[in-house]
Symmetry: C3
Subunit: 265 residues, 3 copies
Amino acid sequence: MDKNLWQQIQLVRQHSPLVHNITNYVVMNNTANALLAVGASPIMAHAKSEIHEMVNIAHSVVINIGTLDEYWSEAMLLGAEAAHLAKKPWILDPVGAGATGFRDRILNQLLQYKPTVIRGNASEIIALAKANTTVTKGVDSTAKSDEAISAAQFLVDHYQTIVCISGETDIIIDHEKTFLIKNGHPLMTKVTGLGCSATAIIGAFIGVTENATESVAAAMALIGISGEIAVLESKGPGSLQVNLIDKLYNITEEEFSSHLKIERL
Amino acid sequence: MDKNLWQQIQLVRQHSPLVHNITNYVVMNNTANALLAVGASPIMAHAKSEIHEMVNIAHSVVINIGTLDEYWSEAMLLGAEAAHLAKKPWILDPVGAGATGFRDRILNQLLQYKPTVIRGNASEIIALAKANTTVTKGVDSTAKSDEAISAAQFLVDHYQTIVCISGETDIIIDHEKTFLIKNGHPLMTKVTGLGCSATAIIGAFIGVTENATESVAAAMALIGISGEIAVLESKGPGSLQVNLIDKLYNITEEEFSSHLKIERL
Amino acid sequence: MDKNLWQQIQLVRQHSPLVHNITNYVVMNNTANALLAVGASPIMAHAKSEIHEMVNIAHSVVINIGTLDEYWSEAMLLGAEAAHLAKKPWILDPVGAGATGFRDRILNQLLQYKPTVIRGNASEIIALAKANTTVTKGVDSTAKSDEAISAAQFLVDHYQTIVCISGETDIIIDHEKTFLIKNGHPLMTKVTGLGCSATAIIGAFIGVTENATESVAAAMALIGISGEIAVLESKGPGSLQVNLIDKLYNITEEEFSSHLKIERL
């Protein structure tokens, strides 16, 4: 299994996919650096006048609604539609889902273009399933982690997507299997936008793979393990942000395999 | 006194206030990381369609006009109005006040929503007082530092606000007292946006305190002292930016108290 | 020769030019820090309501189309026009030229305001020459580097500009001479936006010099040499980004001269 995951990492390094990002202002620099570090080529572009052409030259598309507004949300919808029509893999990061009605309306529209992957934290995945207004049955559960898994399964079923719930344990769910990844470190939550970096890295991986679910697992393991190793030489979140980019760039198969904690359900 | 200031720092760490930032593109990443490092939770959002809801879930609001444009300035005015109406503490950073007529017009409108705190350098505070067009009496003085203090007192009187003039000595003025903080290091002026980070950190502090003026002093001392310590292990402004985030995160009471240089007038 | 280049670096440190940037979201923080590190004062502003005033207080203008959209492209055109009319030096960074029709249309309009300098990689310089629709004769060549030089010469002739083609060897061409600079390191291509930083640094240099071509050479040598030295203490692209800013700030004449690899054709 971990042999296969490392092969996914190698694929990205070999093929250097062009990843088109319509993402948020806070993380653009770090996201671009994370993509370069794993061997991909980032494009950041959002103009409605060129979205179509950009999607067409890219291998995959990342849509992250973090700092959306009326203009950007139109650009995101155009990007998602273009990716859907051109059958390009694309990933949705529903940042702040549930926080405002505006976010939920845009997310609901984005879902219609069937993202290849959705990555968010438990609250966002739950809110995303609830934001769905095209079905009447909601998501209900008592325990939070159970609720997120139930929400993820709802999204998987209704949108033929793969859902990654990130957290202390990352949970990756497709229509037939579930992976649990127990890598990462709590200090990573003190660096802004590492979830967004994870989304972008997944975006690179789905641009070159033939096994999307496995590539999501590989991407999440890569950032989790790189973070764990980077923490060891960091004095706080500032140096962790820097050291993580270094480690994404120079991680070896030996480091990856010896740290990997994955379970398949 | 320094016991009280450290308690303000502890309050933020304990309550992790949600700080809604409508800020500039240059500093969004660093500002978010600075807020996380001091224990707060940053939100960055500016869409007119959701400003109201965001302000309502936040503990405090930060408005920084650094890269304003026509759209963003409308969003800032909506955010300031919402904070004013909901009685949420908010802070104004008048970046580049006086540089253009556009900035001064927007600033003058923002002032009508009575910020809890205003933080800027001496030139910005002077320009802000001059930009005020609703009163006829201007600010006049010969010496620059005197002029800034006179401008600050004018703003305090007319808007029931607290003014922080940052510089080699930070001067914090409210309606009855003045604090001088002599921490910080000249290399900090070579890192972009540390003034903006200071504003955001104050934004976190006023979100949880019952003594706003003291919390402004605590926030300014925290960034100044963290900067002083971070400089010691930095080779230049690049590493200072990183080390400062680390130190904001791991500073101890002992480090804080032993470096603090504060005077109350 | 290297004595002259070092003098250009000293000029920037002494005069601290105010550099007005209309640039892309990805690199704003790094660009501002690079400008501060070399001794310049960055302004980042793009509002159509204030572009004119900002250009008028600046020593030079940087226009970088990386994340352009309809609004920003109008702002860029206003900025270029204002710089042209006020005879302020300005530099164009045609990021992603050739990728979309939208970019090429805007670039073609920007060229009409005759940038003092254009800096791009070989593909961008070739695309920029091809995007030109006011002349019928295109650019034709077989070998890529020859093609870029031919494209650069076309741009120099038609727009009375200086062209810098950055790459493993940087090529700087004006109407009478060519400089080759062989500094830099491959790891620099794994850090996002170092080309954009180079453009901004050139922007600072042309704001204070009387010899624009020599100042472009000095700026390119400065970033190349600083990168080479910074790589030696970097574990990957994350730490390189940080160490490069430090080195831009603290590089000495001795370090500069001993690393400089320049040829004049």
